[in-house]
Amino acid sequence: MMAESVTATMTLAESQTASKTLLQRCIDGERLAQKELYQTYCNAMYTLAFRITGDHDQAHDVLQDAFIEVFRDLKSFRAIGTIGSWIKTIVVRKATKQQKFEQRFESFEAKHDPGIDYQKFTSVALEREITNLPEGYRTVFTLVEIEGYKHTEIAKMLKISESTSRTQLYHAKKTLQKRLKGER
């Protein structure tokens, strides 16, 4: 049913891209733009979701919920920080919703940083042991060591205290250290 009289060379999508920012187009509900935004971030976000939840199915759910919320709330994105970091915050929140974090009052010990030299281990080994960490430890470890958040930020995102966050990290590292020892 395509007419012979089509003469244009530029598609609507291309034309629109040139005119508005991607974000604005997403806010307007343009599927192509939203898909583009999704595709830009989905791998990084999925990986993060998987690390936190430890399960691929759960990670898919998290990602789906997160992006739906992203597109719903894009209007109110206040441009404090990057869009990527904002999306990440949402992903983290969704991924950790079900998780519980132990509150242990070993703050003195927790201040002592068990430093791990990751370079000594193969990435395969690291991957395996990180994935095998208990949930809470793994989450905080991922957020601090891999994603680079500070404990104050983690405390806000996960709604735990800063000392709990530090404690979890401390234990995460200690566990990791122990398990990796055999892997040199």
Binding site: M1, A3, E4, V6, T7, A8, M10, T11, L12, S15, A18, S19, K20, T21, L22, L23, D28, R31, Q34, K35, Y38, Q39, Y41, C42, N43, A44, Y46, T47, L48, F50, H56, A59, H60, L63, Q64, F67, I68, F71, R72, A79, I80, G81, T82, G84, S85, K88, D113, Y118, Q119, K120, S123, L126, L143, V144, E145, I146, E147, G148, H151, E153
Partner: protein
Amino acid sequence: MNEENKHIKRGLENLTSYEPKPELWEAIEAGLEEDSKPKIIYWRWLTGIAAMIAISFTLNWFAKENVDTPIVEVNEPVGNEPTQSTTLADSQILEVNMPVPEKLPMIHKEVPTTGPYDGKAGEALRNPSYRDKEFIDEAIPTVPDTLTQGDMLTYTITATDANATTWNFGNSTVQQGTFAYSFTAPATTNLYSVDVKNVVTSEDLSLNYTIDQSVGSDVTLYEEADNIGFVESDGVAVLVEKDALTKDATQKTLSASDIEQLPTRSSDNAVVGSVSNSGIRSSESTVGRLKSANVLRSKRKFEDKKFKAVGNTSNIEVPFVRVPEKEKYQCVIPDSISGFYSGRNDYKPEPINTESYFPLIENEYLKPTQEPLSTFGIDVDNASYAVMRAKINANQIVPKDAVRVEEFINYFDYNYPEPTDDAPFTVNIENAECPWNTNHQLVRIGLKGKDINYNEMQNSNLVFLIDVSGSMNSENKLPLVKKSMKLLVDQMGPNDRIAIVTYAGAAGLALESTRCDEKDFIKRKIDKLDAGGSTAGGEGIKLAYKIAVENLIVNGNNRVIMCTDGDFNVGQSSDTYMKQLIINNRNKGIFITACGFGMGNYQDSKMETIADNGNGNYFYIDTYRESEKVFNREIRATLFTIAKDVKIQVEFNPKHVKAYRLIGYENRKMPPQDFNDDTKDGGELGAGHTATALYEIIPTTSDEAVPGGIDLKYQTPSTTTNNDYGDELLTVKLRYKKPNGSTSMLLERSLNTGTNSFNEASEDFQFAAGVALYGQQLRQSKFIDQKDFTLASSIIEQSLGSDINGDRLELLTLIKKASKNYQVYTKE
């Protein structure tokens, strides 16, 4: 906690990267579908964007069926709907007319975080500058504000049929003002909708289409419509409704009586259209107000009906003008209210009819025997001068009521002597012959405020209140605000504090009160301000004051600096509330300064009210240079008040003064008893600032009758004056309060008579007189009898002085420019 500083962990870079299943996007899409409303393409009313549109199409009537003329309604976008649609018949030819496009936005491309590990999430969250690194701005080549012959613009036209199949059509060269593009609709099916979009700006367009007569079939069916467009009737657009035309099913044209019987409609939207029927009237466009009683929203109509083209019989043209809304541009109207608008300008002409200025009634001559006291509060706002400059630079007429002569005079620095004693200012009075009427005298009263030592400057607690509504988007608004703010930040010291409150729809705290030892951080926050949304000023002001109170510095400089294009809604009921809020906070020691940016919908009166009640000043920032003056050069005057509630009362000696006229200060005048009343507000004098007032005086030695003078029946002019002060011409009394004081102090100075010729007067005196002359001419003062600006120019030229900052020279340039645009000025 050293690990908190190192977010890059060596050895963790090569962890696995995972990918979600491809089906996940579809699941997300499904989730979003439930949220979004189905797209309906329907006809909507115009609500006002400027453009010249001509729509013409050929109507063909089908004799056997009940025919309605088609809707020729152009969809005006409200909010984010740029699409225009119409239904076309098979093989219909569509021509498109384009309005002048606006400037193009920049594209932001974000380089995203990818991979499993980058350690950037946290940094991105806590490091505000991170956003800058991730965005790549690609400027699209800007389109000039107006097009000239041969300018190239690209548009795409997309058509959709009822089965949602889409065709894309091509692009074309644009000529100034209009652009026509013809394409043939796909032959085999009926088109459902046609969207026309400017590729670069997403401008929506009006449609001008004709039905191809040569299609061959002999029937045209048209959709039922609630309305079909407008008819011009006495300059008012009148809705043509279907009933008018279907009275006679065989009717092919609108007869004159049809048009007369059309129902009128009115709305508050300034939308105008006119329908003309060739043979009855030719199409004309007018700017006016649309009147209608019941605006009917068009319904979705075109589902099942078909259009087919028929032979050409009648022709209805529906040209109309979209009257601009807010800061949108106005179309080219020669000799209209916008004055001398020429095709190519650096500025967009803005609709004057939505700006608001207090109507000013010029001061009359008064006789000292009847009104010996002249009382007023000082005014050192710059807004009127800056508005004038912006208008003159845009080759426009300055609205009479926008001219406050005292603000023109006070825009400039004068070399009055600095105060040496306790009083915060010196009072300098001078008189000489009046240059525009040599039988008269001019008296100039000048105050010079004490400047502040850097060591003495109190600490500042500043809250910027920034309007970030959509209307602030243009180049001379939010971007200029940001530059101005950064200038000010640079002037601050480590013990000063700055907060930023934004308002648009809702009020938000963009920056908590932050000490100015973190200037870079503050500047980055400023950079991030973005425009979008509609304005709710009341919420913003409340929040700004709240922050100011929370960070109040006792005996410090606490100030809210409001930056807006004046287009803010505070709501009728909260106007009083807002005023009270401002007054209450003023009494707590928090002042408010109003800064206006950009043009159009310019609520000059509102801004002045805010500043007046808030013990602050009102600046209009039209250029970067002006913001440098306000926020850099004269920052201490802008921020630090050295005397508030400054009032002047002049008593004239009837022995020497037959009549006097205060030049300017019309909305600062007050009754004599208010001078001693400390509860009555006066003006504020900033550190180092000067304030000047001029009187024109008819001396008793003149035979001239006082213009507008009143002759009393029961009294004759008294001749009993107190001869102890025989040589005095006048006495000036001044009341002022210290910035944090509540009781006023009094100063008094007198001036003896003198007979200086104008050229013997000081340079500053001459310059002030020249400025006053120019200002009064712009105001079309009935007391000035000059044909053009020659005298004003020559006075200013001879009194430029050292003019370190070039402000005086700028005025001279402006006057020369104004001379070209103003018609030969003749006294009414």
